[in-house]
């Protein structure tokens, strides 16, 4: 009755073979297990970018949980523009909802207090509300912490409500803005530059320019800005900032090199910065203290000796002290500039490394240190600094992986800043394009 010809027979046999294969596939689909679980500690440019790209590149097979103590992120990028009312805090507040809605990142609010679990075993991330999250890999993106300064910060007590740092954007930025706005003609604004390496290399000098411009416009130039720098000279975009300090702001800005802050004093109507180059009093004192890695890096023992930042393998940003824990952004000591743009770039290298580790779990091959990958690792940092009310400068650097030293090395020819002219309105407009694009690439 039915004739199964040879062709149909072959079709049927292959179909049966396929039928045998189907149950195992279906079983896999039902197991509801991710290939790996990653907890990201900190939701700044580094953490947000890592969480996003891990979801994206992990094709939904990596469970990504990002924990931050705040409900959203206030960008340090552009935050000096709060001081002169160019922007409001809302303009630089970046919600986490797009990371959840667009990529499937689980975002939790809380402070991470510890990570337990040995290498090769599941890890437990502990939160301050006693909750725990189980995972296989931990990526720390905790940003910075400030070192102690007598009179300003000693352990857990500080006077940042009187002497703001405004170097972690948010209410501190608004406080410094309000203090600046309460200055009267003839008043002095004293600020300190942190010891290198610090977050946003041009940032302190940029701030001096923004404040000087404010005094020039609002008080007709009747006021002073004193920049106390522990370095022997301006550390970055030297020509640009020298030209600003000695040119358009020569009657307002006093730049003091070799001035290391030793303590501060708070008096009823003035604050005093005591430095190795003398004491400087001002109506407003803005101390940007020297940084170290966010507290969790120290708590986990990832800072050897007196190191301020965590040593990492530059091919992945995995801690050289504790494996399966990665440190990206400002908290590591990879020798690259501490900036939002760079944090975003490092996050992508770590996302790629984690994909390789997870995908290669079953294999003994090292996909992370594959020479074909290493020779192509690049990170970059570009940024703009407002110099006047509507003009800005730019700065650029690209870093390439160097196998001999397992470190990221500056590509010398890529390192440059604007010089013809040093600042312009075109750059000022480009600054917003750059920032909006960076915000979007990191947070949505």
């Amino acid at each position: 009755m039915t004739q199964i010809n040879r062709r149909n027979f072959i079709k049927l046999t292959s179909a049966s073979a396929a039928l045998v294969a189907v149950p195992s596939i279906l079983k896999a689909e039902q197991s509801n297990a991710y290939e790996a679980r990653v907890v990201v500690v900190g939701g700044g440019f580094a953490g947000a970018t890592l969480a996003k790209y891990l979801c994206l590149w992990g094709d939904g097979k990596i469970q990504v949980t990002m924990v931050d103590k705040n409900p959203d992120h206030v960008s340090c990028v552009l935050s000096n523009l709060i001081l002169n009312d160019r922007l409001q805090l809302d303009d630089i507040t970046l919600p986490y909802t797009p990371l959840q809605d667009n990529y499937g990142v689980t975002v939790r609010q809380g402070l991470v207090t510890g990570v337990t679990g040995d290498e090769g075993e599941a890890k437990t991330v502990h939160l301050d509300n006693n909750d725990t999250i189980i995972c296989d890999y931990v990526v720390l993106a905790p940003g910075i912490e400030f070192i102690d300064i007598p009179g300003l910060k000693e352990g857990n007590t500080n006077n940042f409500d009187i002497i703001p740092h405004a170097w972690i954007a948010g209410s501190q930025t608004e406080l410094l803005r309000d203090q600046l706005h309460s200055m009267q003609p003839g008043d002095t604004f004293v600020m300190t530059v942190p010891q290198s390496p610090y977050r946003c290399p041009p940032g302190p000098y940029e701030r001096a320019c923004v404040v000087a411009d404010y005094i020039a416009r609002i008080h007709n130039g009747d006021g002073h800005v004193v920049v106390l720098d522990p370095h022997s000279e301006i550390t970055i975009e030297k020509e640009t900032f020298e030209q600003a300090f000695n040119g358009i702001y020569k009657d307002i800005v006093t730049y003091v090199p070799n001035a290391t802050l030793t303590s501060v004093e708070i008096n009823p109507d003035e604050k005093i910065a005591k430095t190795t180059a003398g004491d400087y009093a001002g109506k407003v004192l803005n101390v940007i203290p020297t940084h170290k890695a966010g507290k969790i890096a120290e708590d986990l023992g990832l800072l050897p000796g007196n190191a301020r930042f965590a040593p990492v393998d530059s091919a992945s940003y995995e801690s050289t002290i504790r494996s399966e824990i990665f440190i990206i952004g400002d908290a590591n000591d990879s020798g690259q500039p501490k900036s939002g743009h760079m944090a975003n770039a490092q996050a992508k290298v770590t996302a790629d490394a984690l994909i390789r580790i997870i995908a290669g779990k079953a294999s003994s091959e090292d996909f992370v240190h594959d020479p074909k990958r290493l020779e192509k690792i690049r990170t970059n940092s570009a940024c703009y600094s407002p110099i006047t009310y509507d003009e800005a400068s730019w700065l650029n650097a690209v870093f390439a992986y160097e196998t001999a030293t397992n470190s990221m090395k500056l590509v010398q020819d890529s390192f440059a800043s604007s010089n013809s002219p040093h600042w312009s309105n075109e750059n000022f407009q480009d600054m917003f394009e750059w920032a909006n694009s960076l915000f979007s690439n990191s947070f949505s």
Partner: protein, 156 residues
């Protein structure tokens, strides 16, 4: 009757094919993609994800291999003090004899022009007229996100 059975066979086979295809499509393992992907991602801070930008500078989406290659090489050789010209100098090197090392540039241009390949012999990458392999190769990785119904897998 014979017609009916042949038809049934066809339906059965088509159904099986769809089940298998769907399973492979959603349950494939995490892929290691050529270093071009992470390199290209380093352009996204300014040029948007996968070069598809509506926030900032020029989008790179849809540019051909030659366009990307030639533009970056021109910027590399430029002596103008322009930010992007200096960026380009981070991706190309020239030795003392003037020989250009363009391995990184090629990886970038390949990725943006949709020619990037996965490193391993992933079945999803085999020539196929299905839309699936395009996901891994084409410029819309950025927007791609499989609406996963728990498409996890422990295959292997």
């Amino acid at each position: 009757m014979k017609y009916l059975i042949t038809r049934l066979q066809t339906i059965l086979l088509t159904g099986l094919f769809l089940i298998i295809y769907h399973s492979i499509g959603t349950a494939r393992a995490i892929e290691i993609i050529d270093p071009g992907r992470v390199l290209a991602a380093q352009c996204a801070q300014c040029h948007g994800m996968e070069g598809n930008n509506d926030e900032g500078f020029e989008g790179l989406d849809g540019e051909s291999f030659n366009e990307i290659y030639d533009e970056l090489l021109e910027m590399f050789n430029s002596s103008k003090n322009d930010l992007m010209d200096h960026q380009a100098k981070g991706y190309i090197t020239k030795d003392a004899e003037g020989n250009v090392d363009d391995a990184v540039l090629i990886a970038l241009a390949e990725y943006f022009s949709g020619q990037a390949k996965t490193e391993d012999d992933d079945p999803a990458e085999e020539p196929s007229d299905s839309g699936d392999s395009e996901d891994a190769k084409d410029g819309d990785l950025g927007d791609e996100k499989d609406e996963e119904e728990d498409e996890d897998d422990d295959d292997d």
